[in-house]
């Protein structure tokens, strides 16, 4: 009996492990961010983004991710804030409509923790980033959660009068939450 149970468990684990997750679940995904204004954490989010992800928990080395965020879909709390953030001093969405993360490596850190490396491109500026994230099964799907700290200064987001980090802090925490269904067989 115990052997049978052990065998069953091995099989079922093997099944989950064998699954490769590639189908983004839009209603289970979000990209949110927290900026600090005068010490006050302020939430925002993007309503439009697309991801192409191949996530194989058993083979992190062949997993990869590319996420495109439509910057004009920003919601920064008020219409006036949205307009400001889209303007040339900030995202300059007319010239640079998309922010992109492209992975170039992925490794398991143990448990459900992983780490992606890659580059983040915003406003035509590209810098390498290291992105720790968790992958937690939810039913048959997988949920990826992680935070990318973005330096406004590095990417020239909010320059000119807005550059002062004592008003709007330099670091903005961008949180991605992405639901993925297994690949269709």
């Amino acid at each position: 009996m115990r052997v049978l149970l052990a065998m069953l468990m091995t099989v079922s684990t093997a099944n989950t492990m064998a699954a490769v997750f590639t189908v983004p679940l839009n209603d289970k995904s979000s990209i949110t961010f927290i900026s600090r204004q005068m010490g006050v954490p302020v939430n925002g989010h993007f309503t439009k983004f697309t991801s192409r992800i191949v996530f194989d928990p058993a083979r992190p080395d062949v997993s990869r991710a590319e996420i495109d965020v439509a910057l004009a879909s920003v919601n920064a709390g008020s219409g006036e804030a949205d307009d400001t953030v889209k303007s040339p001093l900030w995202f300059d969405v007319k010239a640079y409509p998309t922010a992109t993360f492209v992975s170039d490596g992925l490794k398991a850190l143990g448990g459900n923790r992983y780490q992606a490396t890659g580059k983040l491109v915003i406003k035509g500026r590209s810098f390498p980033v290291v992105v720790p994230f968790t992958a937690v099964p939810a039913g048959t799907s997988m949920v990826l959660d992680g935070v990318i700290p973005v330096s406004r200064k590095q990417y020239a987001i909010g320059g000119g009068v807005w550059a002062d980090p004592s008003v709007v802090a330099d670091l903005v925490q961008v949180h991605f939450h992405i639901g993925l269904a297994p690949a269709h067989k």
Binding site: Q37, M38, G39, V40, P41, E80, V161, V168
Partner: protein, 181 residues
């Protein structure tokens, strides 16, 4: 004629609150008409900070008031003026609490936590909800206009006592050393 004056604690609280309201009120009017800029974010924060300080001082002041009987008004003051003074003072105490509380509630509802002096996060009083936030903004505005009217009555009455009646009532709310009525 022992207790003809407010205690120094009461006088200091009165003057601090008065000074802060005189600064916070026009700041509120000015900042809310600005276009979004770093300056605007700074001024909003300063406004919230001085407003919260007013709230704290007003609480202290009410505690003082609960523990002390204010000096008696002149015995020959007409009855109507006495009731008028009491009603105005009562309403002013209420607004000293209600105005900053409505501001704090508005901030919470609009999703902006109040972080006192940029370092001390205060709890959100209610959950974020845009519609509630907009109602509270109108409430804050209306309470402020009520405050303005009452402060004008209050100051008007003080000046009337000082320059028309010349009954020296203004000195009740002053720190004086030595001199007596």
């Amino acid at each position: 004629m022992k207790d003809w004056r407010y205690t120094p604690t009461a006088v200091v609280l009165h003057n601090l609150i008065a000074g802060l309201i005189v600064a916070t009120f026009p700041l509120g009017l000015y900042m809310s008409d600005m276009a979004l800029s770093p300056r605007k974010l700074q001024l909003y924060s300063y406004h919230k900070w001085t407003g919260i300080v007013i709230l704290l001082l007003a609480i202290l002041r009410l505690l003082w008031r609960a523990a002390h009987r204010p000096p008696a008004l002149p015995a020959d003051m007409p009855h109507l003026q006495v009731s008028g003074a009491h009603a105005t003072h009562f309403a002013l105490y209420g607004l000293m609490l209600a105005v900053p509380l409505s501001g704090w509630l508005m901030s919470s509802a609009l999703g902006f936590q109040v972080v006192l002096f940029g370092v001390l996060p205060l709890p959100d009083l209610i959950a974020a909800n845009k519609a509630t936030g907009h109602s509270l903004r109108s409430l804050h505005e209306w309470l402020n206009y009520s405050l303005l009217v009452l402060v004008m009555l209050h100051v008007g009455a003080a000046l009337y006592h000082q320059f028309i009646l010349r009954d020296g009532i203004l000195r009740r709310m002053a720190l004086g050393w030595g001199e007596r009525k």
